[in-house]
Amino acid sequence: MIPRPRPERFRLRRTMMFMNAQKPGLIKDAYIYGCDSIMLDLEDAVAENQKDSARFSLYHAMKTIDYGDTEVIVRINGLDTPHWQEDIRVCVACGADGIRIAKCESADDVRTVDSAVLHAEREFGVEEGRTLLMAALESPKGILNAYEICMASDRMFGVAISGGDLRKSLQTKFQTDGIDLVASRGLVVLAARAAGIQCFDTVYTDLDNDEGFMAELKQNKAMGFDGKSLINPKQIRPVHEIFAPTEKEIKQAEKIIKAYKEQSAAGIGVFTVDGKMIDIAFIPGAQRTLELAKACGLYDGGLV
């Protein structure tokens, strides 16, 4: 049996790779790819008549395989199916780090899952509050309720856009410039930031279009997303590269924090670094850059 440490609500989650929990060939060594999180799927990847089998497979994989620092999240079936309650029982019993609520539309959906998780934690003697939650927003209603969903439970660490169903409901299709989801993405980032949790963009399904993938990643980063859901290991490295701070950004952040420390000690609140005005409002951003750089292995200084 492999005991997993208590999951961290806030950690680096640039890449979250989907994997069918029913396929032993996929999940037996999923930690080798180096993604931040893996998403073992009990939902759409698993055929309706194999839902039971996928749970047995998930349980023993979690109890036997050491996933190490790779976070393990499980996507459970929707609340409109007969499967989600048993999905939650097995997730909690096997010690999954977190649960992804599919097709989440309201704070009530989150609270329903939260209370079933608490019940399961008590049933299986798991520390109460250990199991984290995230929600996938896949409908216009889910997107519009993003803020209340983000705020619905202390277990919530993030929200993700799930583009397939969402595009259908919006009566649009994938567009290379992202205009199809621009409003949805904007709302989800706003809601997550207002609630102080993370946000993840939808999968990019055209595996042969590297250029299109890079363009979408750059847009994701520019919009403020923390990471992206992935469907193939070859997508991991580009995301880590794009989401890592550049050398220039790291140097700038270091300068800002150093200058801030000196100036504020001297009683000065606003000053310039390389000709740009800096005050306390820039500090959290600079700190975040250095923290991300440290997590990416690009910074080993002592400022964070």
Binding site: K28, F56, Y59, H60, E86
Partner: protein, 100 residues
């Protein structure tokens, strides 16, 4: 557990095992074929028999077609087939109890 009806779990894909259980009244009869028979045949047989014992299955015809599955996968497939044979595979599974 008593095997009520024939049930199957698993697939013939690489790293998986397909396990079939059938009712019987003559103890455990295990038929095993494996792509790694020479290297792991005895180990696979031991895992299957241990799992059946843990589930308190004393009478069953069991067929395992293994494609190089890890022990954890073999356990999962045997358990699922047995629970399916009793129509108990969908809810209230004793995770951490009989299943461990």
């Amino acid at each position: 557990m008593t095997i009520d009806k024939t049930a199957v779990a698993g697939t013939l894909e690489s790293s998986d095992s397909m396990v079939t259980v059938e009712p019987s009244d003559a103890g455990i009869q295990l038929e095993l074929t494996s792509s790694v028979m020479n290297q792991y045949g005895r180990q696979i047989k031991a895992v299957v028999l241990d799992t059946l014992k843990r589930l308190d299955v004393t009478n069953a015809r069991v067929s395992v077609i293994d494609q190089g599955a890890l022990d954890c996968t073999i356990k999962a497939r045997v358990e699922c087939a047995v629970f399916r044979s009793c129509s108990k595979s969908e809810t209230n599974i004793p995770w951490g109890g009989m299943i461990k």
